[in-house]
């Protein structure tokens, strides 16, 4: 009995600013590549069908469900995960706001939510509540009822505007 083998292919990616070259099976998803091949377990796996958003990363600046992305299909791309946000012990204002508003309960949805929110704030420094809710509508959270998450993103936007020149 043998396991059907999938073809291997070389890929080159930038992950959180670091260049990575690997030879990987063609059916490897970005999510499993990050978690199992690179040992970066900050990005979470909740459904593997693109419904929960726990696996959200920024791919060339855009939020994607990494469980739906084949690594070989995005050869050469730039990937940012939750691990890229803080600079050592210095948290970003978004992470700080999540803590201050108690937007983190069990925390399993948090990495994905932070990436969706980061994307929103980069494009839209003054989002309305509806814009925030729309931006995170692909991220399921079973614990919080979303209220404190929305408040945290609003607050992070305000903090960034206050700091902006």
């Amino acid at each position: 009995m043998t396991l059907p083998e999938s073809d291997k292919q070389p890929v080159r990616l930038r992950v959180n600013g670091e260049s990575i070259e690997r030879v990987i099976p063609a059916d490897r998803t970005l999510l499993l590549f990050l978690r199992d091949d690179l040992g970066m377990t900050g990005t979470k796996c909740g459904c593997e069908i693109g419904e929960c958003g726990a696996c959200t990363v920024l791919l060339d600046g855009n939020p994607v469900c990494s469980c739906l992305v084949l690594v070989v299909a995005v050869d050469g791309a730039d990937v940012l995960t939750v691990e890229s946000l803080a600079d050592g012990d210095n948290l970003t204002d978004l992470q700080e706001a999540f803590l201050d508003h108690d937007a983190v309960h069990c925390g399993f949805c948090t990495p994905g939510l932070l990436m969706s929110a980061e994307f929103l704030l980069q494009r839209n420094p003054e989002p309305t509540e509806l814009e925030i809710r729309t931006a995170i509508s692909g991220n399921l959270c079973r614990c919080t009822g979303y209220v404190q998450i929305v408040e945290a993103i609003q607050d992070a936007a305000a903090r960034r505007r206050a700091k902006a020149p």
């Binding site: 909740g46 983190v104 309960h105 509508s137 399921l140 079973r142």
Partner: protein, 766 residues
């Protein structure tokens, strides 16, 4: 004790940086992966299991069946009949028959699929009604009746005469916990014999007991450690015991660490659900709506195994009449075995079902006697000193009316309710509605079982503090609540505290973390420990710096004598330690006594109660049946708020979970075959669906709780659905008596079912 208005969680940093280690994030070296061969049919006798092919698959290191289990084959808190691996029969679709360990996850899953099982198919029992027919095939030896509880209150065989009588039947569905983190575990052989198991376990001590029995090991050779838990809501109990036992068996068979992680599909298929209930309610009342009698008959689907059905249905039995004075009550609650997913603990634990029924029923009574929903509740609600149908006089302050009035006032309920009603017949597709619901709830385990917990507080010589407890944090914030109690008692800041995840080797068995008992039990034990430490330290200061114990106090990270700051907390504890004072204490809290006499269903069921109310305002699109929840006003009496932000968080999350239960969620099985296996069809509310939520709390510190606090986690989720259903009636004049109130039920009054199998589901077993 002062209120902590806003503070950060003690376990927050790792969760925002991606550094927190959840079950599936564990990556020890030399790891093997486990996979399970599942039944894939609902009911059959196992004739033969052929593992030959699987053993020869690449990377395979072990293939185990029930024959390879050294100890007990089954586990279970009430009846130990849930098999780790099925031996005689499979009793539901998700039963596991064999387990495989291999070098990679792919290899393990592939090999598991190569296991061949010959079955003799048995008839499927797909509902509790079928199960109780006299000629029904048996799921287990004996009887399909899993549980029966009764309450008898009031004299005479017949209910007293009443001007108004009403009779209704309500139904609720299977609901899935839907923790976003699927079940995950790593097990490895311990260095001196025995096993270590680490992962997303909710109730470590029950899992440990089952592991010991299955592996035939003493408890001190089984260590269960909790990783950061990605939500549980009652769901990571037996589901995790199952996974833990299988991984442990594979680890002992191979001598290597074994990791097992359920895919979402496996989680849906295998894990237990919230019990579906059929609830038949009859009442007698005066012509003004004053309740005279109630007869309640409830039938629950226990599914394939007993699990906690006994306790879930017991809570339903005690609380079935809602927070209302009823002089004559006859309640019967039964649960029956079927070939559906087994059902067990889920946030609310038997209350969401009865609340749905009684709160709808009260509105139907109001309609019958021409009163508003608020008026009918005011008239019948418990007041101080009232006696429940189990013969218990309610202790302390009874705040149900206070909570009702609070949400009614905040939502402008009476005015909106009358206006919406008047507008039902007006033109326009979009109708508004507002609905009310309330509940009372017994705190903690009650007469269900031993109710005690331990928390260990250790002050370090630099003034930092570590806490560990037998009570677990699943995301609800138990660690932070306990830390807040310790910080307050020792006069230190929360940032000085580090909370360790629960490890059965290092903390006392504290029972399960269920029944919203984390804050009251773990927190009271933390209080007990910190008070002991404080006393010890203040006695030392009185001896050393001369004065009375009462002259000294700990505050603002320092030791004070009257108004004089003597030294920092750090300096002080360092000195105490140097003088041989122990800086560690184990706190223990035992809940007040409860009693229960099962024959008549009488007793002091719970030592105290909490009260709460919801008002929900909605919009119904009468052309599509879509219901949008606009605002929910919430008021809970919780004894005392320990952390305001966290209390609000429990309310927000609870309301949205309750809303999903009311409108969206249903785990559907057809003849024992699961038709919903992931979040594409099991719809959870998104940020766009979630309403505005206005939370408020009533605080009457409870004399029976050392820290004054009672419960909130479950009360917060148990009354949203009936408030929404009552609002739909207010908007449309149409009463929905079956959950969820899906588009079809709102529009057509019935559910449309897809029959047959969608292509993506054609391949059944994962």
């Amino acid at each position: 004790m002062k209120l902590y208005p806003q503070h950060r969680r003690v376990d927050g940093i790792g969760k925002v940086t991606g550094k927190a280690i959840f079950g599936a994030d564990q990556m020890p070296g030399h790891l093997l992966y486990g996979a399970v061969k599942r039944a894939g049919i609902p009911h059959a006798r196992i004739v033969r299991v052929d593992t030959e092919k699987a053993r020869n698959c690449p990377g395979v290191r072990a293939v185990l069946t029930a024959k390879d289990i050294p100890g007990a084959h089954g586990f279970g808190i009430v009846v130990p009949h849930q098999r780790v691996l099925a031996d005689d029969k499979v009793r539901y679709f998700g039963d596991g028959v064999a387990a495989v360990a291999a070098e990679t996850e792919e290899q393990a899953r592939f090999a598991a699929e190569q296991i061949e099982i010959e079955y003799e198919t048995l008839p499927t029992i797909s509902s509790p009604e079928e199960a109780l027919k006299s000629d029904a095939p048996l799921v287990h030896e004996g009887s399909n009746l899993a549980v029966e509880h009764r309450v008898r209150h009031g004299e005479g065989e017949k209910p007293p005469d009443a001007a108004v009588t009403l009779e209704r039947t309500y139904r609720t569905q299977h609901a899935e916990h839907s923790y976003i983190e699927p079940e995950a575990i790593v097990a490895w052989p311990a260095e001196h014999g025995g096993i270590v198991v680490k992962g997303s376990v909710q109730n470590l001590f029950s899992t440990r007991r089952s592991l010991a029995a299955v592996l035939d090991l003493p408890l001190n050779k089984v260590q269960v450690i909790q990783t950061t838990l990605g939500g549980s809501f009652g769901g990571k109990d037996e589901a995790m015991t199952l996974l833990s036992c299988r991984a442990a068996l594979l680890a002992l068979a191979t001598g290597r660490p074994v990791k097992m992680v359920n895919s979402r599909e496996e989680s849906f298929i295998e894990s237990y659900k919230r019990h579906p209930y059929r609830l038949h309610y009859e009442l007698g009342a005066d012509k003004d709506g004053q309740l005279r009698s109630m007869q309640i008959d409830i039938l629950a689907d226990a599914g394939a195994y007993a699990s906690t059905s006994q306790f879930v249905t017991w809570r339903s039995t005690v609380q079935a009449t809602g927070p209302y004075r009823v002089p004559w009550v006859r309640t019967r609650v039964r649960a029956a075995f079927t070939n559906n997913n087994y059902t067990g603990a889920m946030r609310g634990f038997g209350s969401p079902q009865v609340n749905l029924a009684i709160e709808s029923f009260m509105d139907e009574l109001a309609e019958e006697v021409g009163k508003s929903p608020l008026e009918i509740r005011r008239l019948n609600a418990y007041r101080d000193g009232d006696v429940t149908p189990t013969g218990q006089q309610l202790p302390g302050k009874v705040t149900i009316v206070e909570a009702l009035e609070a949400v009614a006032r905040a939502s402008d309920f009476e005015r909106k309710w009358r206006e919406n009603r008047a507008r039902q017949k007006e033109a326009g597709a979009i109708k508004r509605g507002i609905g009310l619901a309330c509940s009372y709830r017994g705190v903690s385990l009650g007469a269900e079982g031993t109710d005690a917990a331990g928390t260990l507080v250790a002050i370090q010589t630099d003034g930092s503090v570590t806490i560990s407890s037998g009570i677990t944090d699943m995301g609800q914030g138990a660690q932070t609540a306990m830390s807040a109690v310790v910080a307050e008692a020792l006069g230190i800041s929360l940032s000085q505290i580090r909370f360790l995840n629960t490890d059965t080797d290092r903390v006392p068995d504290s029972g399960p973390t269920v029944a919203s008992r984390a804050t009251i039990m773990g927190g009271s034990a933390a209080y007990d420990a910190s008070i002991a430490l404080r006393k010890r330290l203040l006695e030392f200061s009185a001896r050393t710096y001369r004065g009375d114990d009462s002259d000294f106090r700990l505050e603002d990270n320092a030791l004070w004598r009257c108004d004089e700051r003597l030294m920092s907390f750090h300096e002080f504890v360092d000195k105490a330690f140097a003088s041989g004072i122990s800086l560690m204490a184990l706190g223990w809290h035992k809940a007040p006594k409860t009693t229960w006499r099962e024959e008549h269903g009488q007793g002091t069921a719970y030592f105290t109660y909490v009260y709460g109310a919801n008002a929900a305002e909605i919009e119904v699109d009468t052309q599509t049946g879509q219901v949008r929840i606009l605002d929910v006003w919430v008021c809970h009496e919780v004894g005392r708020v320990i952390s305001y932000a966290q209390a609000c968080g429990q309310v927000y999350g609870g309301v949205v979970m309750g809303m999903g239960y009311g409108l969206l969620e249903e785990y559907y099985q057809e003849q024992g075959i699961p038709r919903i296996k992931n979040f594409d069809e099991y719809t959870l509310a998104t940020a766009l669906d979630a309403p505005n939520i206005h939370a408020s709390f009533l605080e009457h510190p409870d004399a029976l709780s050392p820290i004054g606090a009672k419960s909130l986690g479950e009360p917060a989720t148990e009354i949203c659905a009936p408030a929404v259903l009552n609002a739909i009636f207010n908007a449309t004049g149409r009463r929905i008596r079956e959950l969820p109130a899906s588009l079809e039920r709102v529009l057509l009054g019935r559910q449309l079912r897809r029959h047959g199998i969608r292509t993506s589901l054609a391949k059944e077993a994962p």
